[in-house]
């Protein structure tokens, strides 16, 4: 019981903290439900702070009877409510507002559900009931608890993304009907919330009950049919991808073009990091080189030198990027591991600073950049909007992915993997380290160059500011989140890491907060990536199962060694 009290006070304090720093009020603008009760996301955040505490307490009291769990939950809830009540009672009297700008009357109203200081008993009762419910929920069997939690999460997601969903759905005439069914102007409709909740619960429960059987049954399908089935997924994905811009409109197309550009860069970096094990943090330099080459060659502005068409400039950009990759690869040939990451990071920054410098301003425009880059023309049609550029990006991503896929199992691909596994052994077996590494740098850079070229025409201008280190880091993160060395993983990773912050624009300033937290959680829960390559998965499994990870880590010497070549 003392536990319950302590946890309750703690979660109450968390709730007060959330309220005082303004998170709750910020979220209050978004309604989860307007009817039958008016419930905002801010209130949900407050309740969640209390619920999580009550849940934890009830779990810990699991040894006792169900009644004890409910009681513990209720006690935790009441004590959390008491802390909040204290804020409401003491707030106006002590003039907390002088210190915490957010401790405003609307905040107190929100906590007391509009009842003022007289609402304190009601708060205590409500929080006690919530705590008791959480306690009871904690004692439910997992088969019932999980679907319910998923259902609640689905309703929350529906309300968090309502603005975005409305934006997308209202774009089309037919989809607008769906939007009206799902949302009122400021919240999901009660019907929609109920349907989403019930459907999620039902699907989840069904999957829980039947999932294993379903999986077993697919294994009995004859191989030929299974192959067809396996092709059906990708085929559907391709069709969906082709239709997306038409359905999704300009916003979605724009996001997808950016996803495509990151896919191109990810495929390139994957050659270096995933295949050859060369950790490169200056990768954005090659993206920049591709963009600037196209900019210089095609711009009709004062700095343009050739006024070429995009299609003529593109191969030049690829070759320039490739040469740059090889040239920058030469000095770092002998550098390994983390040192390589830092050296390449230095190169990336040097390239950006040079482009920005006064020294090159007469040619590259300094911080003003290159302007007036015309849109590409294809078959007499000027590819203006993101809907058009999406197809360009898709086509080149497909081409580059095909090249990467063919490289993976080629002689060169195997040489790269040998270097990744052990550079010294590979060299002893007759691998030419210099040419293999330079090819990895060059080809990876060429892929990024394609992306840069499209980026230049997408914006119609090129600025040094677009090529921050953050891009290199994002690309590295996306290939690891997707699954290092895995080609489908690159696409999945690009979708997740680029699409996600775009979707999270809803959170405004919370955006990179959520993004960063998700990166950490991802590494903790699924380090092998969303779509891992086969051997990567095996390695990580072994690591998990290894009895003495510390011993292993100690046995592996730091990779920073003496230079072996170059």
């Amino acid at each position: 019981m003392r536990d319950a009290l302590a946890v309750g006070l703690l979660s109450g304090a968390v709730a007060v903290y959330l309220a005082l720093v303004g998170v709750v009020e910020q979220l209050h603008g978004r309604l989860v439900l307007a009817e039958p009760v008016r419930l905002s996301l801010g209130q949900v955040a407050l309740f969640l702070a209390g619920l999580v505490g009550a849940m934890a307490v009830a779990r810990r009291a699991a040894a006792g009877s169900p009644a004890a769990a409910v009681l513990a939950g209720a006690l935790a809830g009441v004590s959390a409510g008491a802390v909040l009540s204290m804020l409401v009672l003491a707030g106006p009297a002590l003039n907390v507002r002088a210190m915490f700008v957010n401790a405003s009357p609307p905040l107190f109203d929100l906590i007391t559900l509009g009842r003022g200081p007289g609402g304190v008993p009601a708060i205590l009762a409500l929080w006690g009931a919530l705590g008791a419910a959480a306690g009871a929920a904690a004692r439910l069997p997992a088969g019932a608890r999980r679907p319910l939690a998923w259902g609640a999460a689905a309703v929350l997601l529906l309300s968090i993304f309502q603005e975005l969903a409305q934006l997308i759905l209202q774009a089309g005439e037919r989809t607008a009907v769906v939007a009206d069914l799902l949302f009122t102007s400021d919240s999901p409709t009660p019907g929609a919330a109920a349907v989403v909740f019930v459907a999620t619960v039902a699907l989840n429960a069904l999957w829980r009950a039947r999932g294993e059987g379903f999986r077993r049954r697919t294994e009995t399908i004859p191989p030929a049919a299974r192959r067809v089935l396996r092709m059906a997924g990708p085929a559907l994905a391709v069709v969906a991808a082709l239709l997306l811009p038409a359905v999704g409109g300009a916003f979605i197309s724009q996001v997808l073009v950016i996803v495509g550009l990151y896919t191109l860069m990810g495929l390139g970096l994957n050659l270096e990091v995933g295949f050859a094990g060369l950790l490169d943090l200056g990768f954005v330099a090659f993206f920049a080189i591709g963009a600037y080459t196209v900019g210089l060659l095609t711009s009709v502005g004062s700095l343009g030198i050739a006024q070429m068409s995009f299609w003529a400039a593109l191969p030049v950009a690829v070759i320039v990027a490739l040469v740059a990759g090889v040239v920058l690869g030469i000095p770092v040939l002998g550098i390994r591991g983390d040192y390589l990451a830092i050296a390449t990071l230095g190169f990336g920054e040097i390239v950006r600073l040079l482009v920005l410098s006064d020294f090159l301003r007469p040619w590259l425009g300094g911080s003003q950049g290159l302007l007036d880059i015309p849109k590409p023309v294809f078959g007499g049609v000027e590819l203006v909007g993101p809907e058009h550029l999406f197809y360009v990006t898709l086509a080149f991503s497909a081409l580059v992915a095909y090249v990467a896929w063919r490289l993976q199992d080629s002689r060169l691909g195997r040489v790269w993997m040998a270097i990744r596994e052990d550079e010294d052994v590979a060299e002893a077996l007759g691998v030419d380290l210099v040419s293999a590494k330079l090819l990895a740098y060059g080809l990876g850079a060429a892929f990024a160059g394609v992306g840069g070229a499209i980026f230049a025409v997408m914006l119609g201008s090129v600025f040094p500011h677009s090529f921050q280190l953050l891009i290199s880091i994002n690309v590295l993160a996306l290939i690891i989140v997707g699954g290092l060395g895995s080609l489908p993983g690159v696409i999945v990773g690009a979708l997740a890491l680029v699409g996600l912050p775009e979707l999270l624009r809803e959170f405004g300033e919370f955006r990179f907060l959520v993004y960063g937290a998700l990166l950490v959680v991802m590494m903790l829960l699924r380090p092998e990536g969303l779509w891992p390559a086969a051997e990567q998965r095996r390695e990580l499994r072994e690591h998990v199962e290894a009895t003495e990870p510390a011993l292993e880590a100690a046995a592996a010497p730091p990779t920073a060694g003496e230079p072996t070549g170059g």
Binding site: V101, D338, Y339, E509, L513, G516, A546, A550, A553, A554
Partner: protein, 323 residues
């Protein structure tokens, strides 16, 4: 005539270089110690540093709002902000290790690297979020404490602000204490043992996990102190301030030989000095062709050259012990 200018500004350039160098050195310690025990680049360390800078600013701003800024002696004021910043940053660094790095012990090395990048994003925007909700602005300026800006003569008619002297003295003090701690105490020996060989240290009865936490604690404290001193010296901070000093400090750690405590200090001082000299003299020496904005290019070029030709760093071979 130009030579006269060069010589005339030299003493104050040296002081500026020392200030920057000591700040780099203190941040570099966090990188180098963590690298020593975990062989991992702690990408979130620049945010630990920034947290210290924000803690310092908040204390001063709150005192200013309360009208108590003049009540304390400026030296006591400096001590308070540095100590509190150290405390907060140290606790934060230990928490980050617990939550985001410890569960990944034994995973391939890229995994904790990405986790650290995630933490870095998270902390940047967490600071920004809290500050913009709390003050409605996330660019903070340190309140003016007149004493810090008083100028004292150091040579002839050259004078420098007191705060520069204070930053140098305070960092020097902390670096000396840290060196003594690492080399003369049992705990310091234990940390060095863990850096040398985790498994063997564990077999000798050293609590490896706790020593790693302690490493983060010390590195975080140093980073926090550097943050507060940085704020006092340079005035304006924002949640993204840490990036460039962080990269430079890592460069300094590599320059001195990563994993090597005296190396980080030497590396920081050398880099700070080189950078300041480059910023002050490059334009004069090249007849205006290359100005101060090339100092970062210069710093990164030094980094790449060191990595190419002397990857063990300046002190990497002289001092064999690792940490």
């Amino acid at each position: 005539m130009e030579w006269d200018v060069l010589i005339a500004i030299f003493p104050s350039v040296v002081v500026d270089g020392l200030v920057l160098g000591f700040v780099y050195a203190m941040i570099a310690l966090g990188y180098t110690m963590v690298y020593g025990v975990l062989q991992m680049i702690n990408f979130a360390h620049s945010e630990i540093f920034v947290t210290g800078a924000f803690v310092g600013a908040e204390i001063l701003l709150i005192m200013q709002a309360g009208g108590t800024l003049g009540a304390l002696h400026p030296l006591a004021l400096l001590a308070v902000i540095v100590l509190v910043a150290m405390l907060v940053s140290a606790v934060l660094a230990v928490a980050v290790e617990r939550i985001a790095y410890r569960p990944l012990r034994g995973a391939p090395r890229l995994i904790p690297l990405i986790s650290a990048i995630g933490v870095s994003f998270f902390l940047q925007d967490a600071i920004r979020l809290v500050e913009s909700l709390w003050r409605n602005a996330f660019y903070l300026t340190y309140p003016v404490v007149e004493f810090f800006d008083l100028r004292i003569a150091i040579a002839g008619d050259i004078d420098v602000p007191i705060k520069s002297i204070l930053v140098v003295v305070a960092s020097l003090l902390m670096l000396v204490v840290l060196t003594l701690f690492v080399n003369r105490t049992r705990l310091g020996t234990a940390i060095r043992a863990v850096a040398e060989d985790q498994a063997a240290a564990g077999l000798m009865g050293i609590n490896v996990g706790r020593m790693i936490s302690l490493t983060f604690l010390i590195g975080g404290a140093m980073g926090g102190a550097a943050g507060a001193l940085f704020g006092v010296q340079f005035g304006t901070i924002n949640p993204y301030t840490g990036f460039i000093p962080g990269i430079k400090a890592f460069t300094a750690a590599v320059l001195g030989g990563i994993g090597n405590v005296p190396g980080a200090m030497v590396g920081g001082l050398v880099l700070g000095m080189l950078e300041t000299l480059a910023a002050s003299y490059m334009s004069l020496l090249t007849g205006g062709a290359f100005g101060a904005e090339y100092k970062d290019i210069f710093a990164f070029s030094v980094l790449i050259l060191i990595l190419m030709f002397r990857p063990r760093g300046l002190l990497g071979e002289v001092v064999r012990e690792k940490l």
